[in-house]
């Protein structure tokens, strides 16, 4: 600990190479008895004190600045890193059972966690795909007895909120529209259509990429039937025809089980194409293909008892500086005054405002995050398991590490070799895991309930890849940390260090090569003799 601290301090003051030589001087002094007893606690303190003295002198004198690594030095570092990578590959190939087990554990857990993260990210974590999404809210009512939020509202409530509110820059209502069909390959297919009131595109800040948005004239009763279509439908059915404006869509008034209430039968003139980025509503499994204007019928503008249909979803955009709490209080006040005038209409219901993001993902947030946490724990357990495997392996390779240290490898170099091996294992695990994740995402999309919000947007994207890469590095680091902490590379077998130190540089290079090639190991002294003989015979 003290040595590491001293090394860190010196490296900052005088640069890495110079720091190593100073630490070498200090250790040599300790070994020669010019300081406290070797390996005692006092020796650590002494080492740190001397390092502080050196660093302070260097700073005070101003003579030494940590030098930038030279080109040759950088090249050497790259080369030694390449040696580590090569050794790691050879080492992993030499233990196929260990490699297979570790790879299997890592790829399964990384694959599972990446797939789950993809779903949680798309469904819960990601912001709504609109401009300033925090301003988007859903307006509805809450049952005072149960606290249940009621999304679907009658047109009468919507009309009164529009007339009396002053906290929203825009407010709009939507309701599903049935009856739109197109013929694709001779088969009639239903289109997902939405009827929208004035202000809908202001709330979501969307505008057509081709053509024009709805005008005030389109929202008059008995006006010409017009429609906006999605970019997807434009490509799919109209072949991305730039002259699509003016072409028509057909709707039928057939009431079918499970389909939304149909709009009037007839033809609708296309006036524009919405861009691919505009997706509404965000919670549906299918994206909307057609938008048509919705005009509140006269019969639903007054609060009669017989003509109440709770079929509108109301969304709004908060004015600048207005909080959700203030908007909620405002809508509550409006509803309270309406309830006072029409007590039988509201009953126990009171107006309420909630964030659109919360409305979209609130139901599933808790269990989704729980799932993510569970997968995270499994990943942690897996990385600890792999760490234990590597620990067992490091113990078995203790002799090799001791020889490396005897040949002059620093503790960092030995630790780096293990780290590289571990990172390579986790990187390979991540790559295999990503393939599994792609498959897992498809399985999850098919298996999860259709009503799950934003399920159609689940995909393997840059965020997910970044998380997978981070997982890889953390797992690799975690797996390597235990063996690294426990490696006792500095403890050399008796007689080995002097024998190795006595070898000429060529012999040490030969030994390093033998290490990297994983040649069978004789005892240390026999090996040293053999190496010396080999070098002398060569020279």
């Amino acid at each position: 600990m003290m040595t590491r601290l001293a090394a860190m301090l010196l490296e900052r003051a005088v640069g890495a190479e110079c720091a190593r030589s100073i630490l070498g001087d200090l250790e040599e002094d300790l070994a020669r008895g010019r300081g406290p007893r070797w390996a005692s606690r006092a020796a650590g303190v002494w080492l740190l004190w001397e390092a502080i003295a050196h660093a302070a002198s260097a700073r005070w004198d101003g003579a030494v600045r940590p030098s930038r690594p030279t080109r040759a030095r950088r090249r050497l570092e790259v080369t030694t890193m390449w040696y580590d990578v090569r050794d790691a590959i050879r080492s992993l190939r030499s233990a196929p059972l260990f490699t297979m087990v570790a790879l299997l554990v890592l790829s399964l857990t990384i694959g599972a966690s990446t797939a789950i993260f993809s779903v949680v990210d798309a469904v819960v974590l990601r912001a709504l795909p609109y401009d300033e999404p925090h301003q988007l809210v859903q307006v509805g009512t809450i049952d005072r007895r149960t606290g249940q939020f009621d999304t679907y509202q009658p047109a009468q409530n919507f009309t009164d909120w529009v007339a009396r509110q002053d906290v929203f820059t825009s407010i709009a209502a939507t309701t599903a529209a049935g009856g739109f069909t197109v013929s694709e390959n001779g088969v009639a297919k239903d289109l997902a259509a939405l009827q929208v009131t004035v202000g809908y595109f202001d709330v979501y800040r969307g505008s057509p990429q081709i053509g024009r948005p709805f005008s005030d004239g389109d929202y008059r009763e008995h006006s010409a039937r017009v429609a906006l279509i999605s970019e997807s439908l434009w490509r799919r059915h109209f072949g991305a025809d730039p002259d699509v404006i003016g072409r028509t869509l057909r709707s039928t008034a057939e009431l079918r089980y499970g389909a939304p209430f149909p709009v009037d039968a007839g033809t609708w003139t296309i006036i524009g194409v919405m861009p691919r980025s505009f997706r509404s509503p965000v919670s549906g499994l299918r994206h909307t293909d057609v938008w048509v204007p919705y005009v509140v019928p006269r019969s639903q503008q007054a609060r009669g008892v017989d003509d109440r249909r709770d079929n509108l979803e109301v969304t709004a955009r908060l004015a600048d500086g207005v909080t959700i709490e203030r908007a909620d209080a405002h809508v509550r006040a409006i509803t309270a005054s309406l309830a006072h005038a029409h007590p039988t209409w509201f009953g126990e219901e009171i107006g309420a405002v909630r964030s659109l993001h919360e409305a979209t993902v609130g139901i599933v947030r808790a269990w989704m995050l729980l799932l993510l946490g569970a997968v995270g724990v499994v990943l942690l357990i897996a990385s600890v398991s792999v760490a234990h495997l590597m620990l067992a392996r490091a113990t078995a390779r203790g002799h090799e590490m001791q020889i490396r240290a005897a040949l002059g490898a620093s503790r960092w170099r030995v630790a780096r070799a293990q780290l590289v091996e571990s990172l390579m294992l986790s990187t390979a695990g991540t790559l295999v895991g990503l393939l599994l994740a792609v498959w897992g995402i498809n399985v999850l999309r098919a298996a999860l309930p259709e009503g799950l919000p934003r399920i159609s947007t689940v995909a393997l994207d840059v965020r997910v890849l970044a998380v997978a890469a981070l997982t890889s590095v953390v797992t690799g680091w975690r797996s390597a940390s235990r063996p690294r902490c426990s490696s006792r590379a500095r403890e050399q077998p008796a007689g080995c260090a002097p024998a190795a130190a006595a070898l000429p540089p060529e012999a040490r290079a030969c030994a390093r090569r033998s290490l990297s090639l994983r040649l069978p190991w004789p005892s240390c002294s026999r090996w040293a003799r053999a190496c010396s003989c080999r070098v002398s015979s060569v020279s």
């Binding site: 190479e17 110079c18 190593r20 030589s21 100073i22 630490l23 070498g24 001087d25 200090l26 250790e27 040599e28 002094d29 070994a31 001397e50 003295a53 050196h54 302070a56 002198s57 260097a58 004198d61 003579a63 030494v64 240290a405 005897a406 002059g408 490898a409 620093s410 503790r411 500095r490 050399q492 260090a497 002097p498 190795a500 130190a501 540089p505």
Partner: protein, 112 residues
């Protein structure tokens, strides 16, 4: 008499001592051996840090040059940093010593 511009010695007192040790140790001059040599000759304790910083200064001035040797186990696998005097360093040492001799000439009675 030395030229006016050369009156200030190129080496300070401890720099001169360290340079003399480097010259004396030849190929074996590294901070510990330099310190040991100074302590042995002078009989006074010298700190490692002062030797180190003086060597750094000498290298910066171009009077010495350093290289790293092979790592050794007794030093925890770390290399020694060997110093040797450059021709400029040798000349500076010679000049400083010459100045001292010139200034001490005739003072033997006082200095002993």
């Amino acid at each position: 008499m030395l030229p006016r511009s050369r009156l200030s010695p190129p080496l300070r007192d401890f720099e001169l001592v360290v340079m003399l040790a480097v010259l004396g140790l030849r190929e074996e001059a590294y901070p510990l051996s330099i310190r040991d040599a100074i302590e042995e000759r002078s009989g006074r304790k010298v700190s490692r840090a002062s030797v180190f910083i003086t060597l750094e200064r000498l290298e910066r001035k171009g009077f010495a040059r350093s290289r790293y040797g092979d790592p050794t186990p007794v030093r925890g696998g770390r290399a020694k940093r060997f110093f040797r005097a450059t021709p400029r360093g040798t000349a500076a040492t010679r000049e400083t010593l010459h100045l001292m001799h010139a200034m001490t000439a005739g003072l033997e009675e006082i200095l002993g």
